[in-house]
Subunit: 219 residues, 2 copies
């Protein structure tokens, strides 16, 4: 016999439905009544958990933060060990998402930056926390690859460049509703990283490379 | 004595106010009544020129297309002749715009891709025309610089990479409300282009370079 849904189940279902609707329709276009209906929850129950729509928005951003590793990074990196290839595997994951959703669903964080970033300062801070979390993961890839990169390259700055490329490529792909621009941007990013790898290989700096490796282990 | 405003003046004023409000507040959050009020025009007059809000949206996107050269490219490129430096001068223009508007106003085209791209197919096509126009201008820069770039580099694909970097960098800067990520992305893009220039310089291919120059002249 299935057990009765608990309070936590209901709250979680509301968050999941809200995440989906905010991503596909936007925050303004999504009403609390629609969320309650789709979650098969009485409006009063929704208000019990989330007195305001903004409370629900914050809960979805908190959940997205927690889900980055299990739902975004782990599936993209399954079977991919090379840290540079992990960067491209993650970018391929966003491409797959655009295919699966027929270009309707961009990066949910980027969308909300544009939609509510000006008007909702608390949400903006949670969006930044999500970006920071993403950047930490990609920075780790570049730290792991540090001995193979020119020693003057900053792993955080490279991670920012990847985030910027991803957000821009997802946006432009959604405008064109095809992958021409997305793929063009990834080809150029890969060309850049391959040039960095080739440069480091051609100019080995044993001491600095070892130090970078040590720094990476300490981190 | 100032002349009486003509029909064209009124229509143009409505477009200018709509462009500003759509860029700062978004399309959904901007009401036709607010536009009429700000333009000091009676609502009936607005409906005379633009029977629907979508008609006004289309008119603003048409105007943005026409204004790219005189209002975006010409000011950014004033006194800048080097085609590669023109790319960075344009990116510096977006950075200035973020400063002037305290990060409230991103790229008006990119914002609308995310806000109305799914729901307004005609507007989406006009947004694509704006991107195409922008890409044509940056592609011309890379065509002009073709003899100084490795011969296998496609000027259109490089232009797409610059557009993607700009859109991503503007979005991420608006999230953080500072220029750390924006500047990091531009540093990496410049490093990439400098590596391409250095590579071409180290491996001159006289025939190919001449052909690229000829192609650029024919275009």
């Amino acid at each position: 016999m299935p057990s009765k849904p608990t309070r936590d189940d209901t709250r979680e279902r509301l968050i999941q439905i809200a995440m989906e609707l905010f991503a596909f329709q936007g925050y303004a276009a999504t009403g609390l009544a629609q969320i309650a209906r789709k979650a098969k929850v009485l409006p009063g129950s929704l208000y019990y958990f989330f007195p305001t729509k903004e409370d629900l928005l914050h809960a979805t951003l908190q959940r997205r933060h927690e889900l980055l590793q299990p739902e975004v990074l782990d599936p993209a990196w399954d079977g991919v060990d090379d840290p540079i290839e992990r960067v491209f595997a993650l970018l391929a994951g966003y491409r797959r998402m655009l295919t699966l959703t027929d270009f309707q669903h961009g990066c949910p964080i980027g969308n909300l930056v544009i939609e509510v970033g000006n008007s909702h300062p608390d949400a903006r801070r949670l969006l930044v926390r999500n970006f920071d979390n993403w950047l930490d993961a990609i920075e780790r890839c570049f730290r792991d690859a540090a001995p193979r990169l020119p020693p003057d390259h900053d792993p955080r700055r490279l991670a920012v460049f990847v985030l910027v490329t991803m957000e821009g490529a997802v946006m432009v792909a959604r405008a064109y509703r095809n992958f021409e621009a997305y793929d063009a941007a990834i080809i150029q990013l890969r060309d850049y990283l391959e040039r960095l790898l080739a440069d480091a290989l051609a100019h080995p700096q044993p001491d600095k490379a070892r130090n970078a490796k040590k720094r990476s282990r300490r981190a």
